[in-house]
């Protein structure tokens, strides 16, 4: 898994609420058996018109907005458990998603793929949207160690929460499998007491 410590980037504002995993990656693209290449179809039905041409009204196709931070409306990632959604976001090049609320499974999937979900207040989210709209070159800094996100243009910052175990994993690029396997003796002991 990619390590994550600190990131400074411009951001892409997706001011839509309840972005569900079917929008992030439609079900018809879930037929692959590897993790790669999902970025191509990220937000497929919003990004492209039916005949395959780019939908210029969609924010990802607006070249003014660039960067590896996605700023999205409330309740991002609701719906299915498909990790393909996190893979698509990661594969497209996003390292951070900021929202005022994340669906549970998506949040876990993102963390398991080195994508940091940053939950901020609705007010701060509005501030981000309006600053990015004012100036698409607005730089945003996300500091995992300090659990802090800062709008560098105004200096306005806020803290976000992340559990300390997941934070350590992200900073070091660890995933859960190694940790679980290192506890196998205890898992076996548990099985024996249960049986």
């Amino acid at each position: 898994m990619d390590k994550f410590t600190k990131l400074k980037s411009t951001a892409i504002p997706l001011s839509i609420e309840n972005v569900d995993t079917d929008q992030i990656i439609p079900a018809r693209f879930l037929k692959a058996t590897s993790r790669e290449g999902f970025g191509e179809n990220l937000f497929r039905d919003w990004r492209y018109n039916k005949e395959g041409s780019a939908n210029n009204d969609f924010i990802l196709n607006n070249t003014i907005y660039q960067g590896s931070i996605l700023v999205a409306g409330d309740n991002f990632g609701c719906g299915s458990s498909r990790e393909h959604a996190a893979w698509a976001i990661h594969d497209y090049g996003f390292k951070v998603v900021v929202s005022s609320f994340f669906a549970d499974i998506f949040k876990g999937n993102a963390l398991n793929n080195g994508v940091l979900p940053v939950q901020v207040s609705p007010e701060y989210l509005e501030e981000l949207f309006s600053e990015i709209e004012k100036d698409p070159n607005t730089q945003i800094e996300v500091d995992l160690e300090a659990e802090k996100i800062t709008l560098l243009s105004t200096g306005s910052s806020t803290n976000f929460e992340i559990n300390s175990y997941k934070k350590t994993c992200l900073i070091n690029g660890y995933d859960d499998i190694d940790f679980l396997i290192s506890n196998k003796a205890e898992i076996e002991k548990f099985e024996n007491t249960k049986a």
Partner: protein, 460 residues
Amino acid sequence: MKKTLFDKVWDAHVVKEIQDGPQILYIDKHLIHEVTSPQAFGELEQRGIPVFRPDQIVATADHNTPTIDQHLPVKDVLSRNQLTQLTKNCEKNNITLYGLGHKYNGIVHVMAPELGITQPGMTMVCGDSHTSTHGAFGTIAFGIGTSQVAQVFASQSLLLQKPKSLRVSVNGKLKPGVLPKDVILYVIAKLGTNAGTGYFCEYAGNVFKDMSMEGRMTVCNMSIEMGARGGMIAPDETTFDYIKGRKFAPKGDEFDKKVAYWKTLPTDEGATFDKEYHFDAADIEPMITYGTNPGMGIKITENIPIENNASFEKSLAYMNFEKGQSLIDQKINYVFIGSCTNSRIEDFRVAASFVKGKKKANNVTAWFVPGSQQVAQQIVEEGLKEVFEEAGFKLRQPGCSACLAMNDDKIPEGEYCVSTSNRNFEGRQGQGSRTILASPLVAAATAIEGKIIDITKQLN
């Protein structure tokens, strides 16, 4: 200390607590299917990690399978490849697979309960968010991502933070024609799609107590649509009767011993929840959705609410509906009865009782898709197949089908589909499709009339 049903099951599965961190939770049963497992098998193979407890894993093929001509090779190359991969992975790792055409094949959340794999007090996971279905048995069951599928393969455990607890109580008498689907659509419409995020939900009150296991599964299935990872209902005699005698159910003395344990699971009187909601059964009516998330639901007789915000308006524009509009008499060309929410025998009984002696509307294409081979067989045995055929409906073969349109069962662009499935997201049933969620009764009535009707008038 007074404990909830959820606490009791969870606490009995904690292998270890990590200081200031998550807990290692032991998983009793792991269900897998073709879409969310290949990358997990791949990861294990790549890292040289064996599957730890293959006998606690059960596999089925359901998500991308065709619902006609299942005896023929699957036409779609990518789907066929995924199915082949599943077969190979199961063979290589000694995992039981009920593949396409097997008499136990079906949608994972339909076949596992009907085989008695799902039992009270267990922890169950699957790479599918509707795993919450199994909570109907007093089971902690929830959907996981593919990285977690790999973790369970490797260790039969997961690293998790214990969720908070939520209880939704519905008491009183349901009106005629109000089905479990209406109850859960009503609850989600009232609470919204993220009220349950971070929580595990228990459904309590006489309404759930009086429900069949099929009805309870419909309710628990949609817990994720209000954000809750899982939903549970206390096991009782209805639960025990359902399990008894099923293929993988405990037998003889072992069954009695289990029942004695299961009886200790219901929430202790006086146990507290982090959040509680109460509803009156008499307030619930047949429901339909009008928007692009399951929280956008109304009573079938109500008008679409008038809200002024961009996301709401975007949603209505997609559906081509107006604020304040009634959906009664809305012409509908597609009807889908199926999915892990409503494809069990009871759902087809309800549909059959309505369509009996009537004829399908000419404008309607209807897909009736049983949840499993066993349900399909029961439909024949109970004579429902004839009822459907006389009314002009044809049954298809089991699978997830038009719920997520990974196979050929796609609703065309711009068309409305009254669907018994669980999600009305944009494009969920095919690019540009417009989904209206409803109960099997409302779906059956729509298929007969070719439009949405006020079903309450026929019932009173």
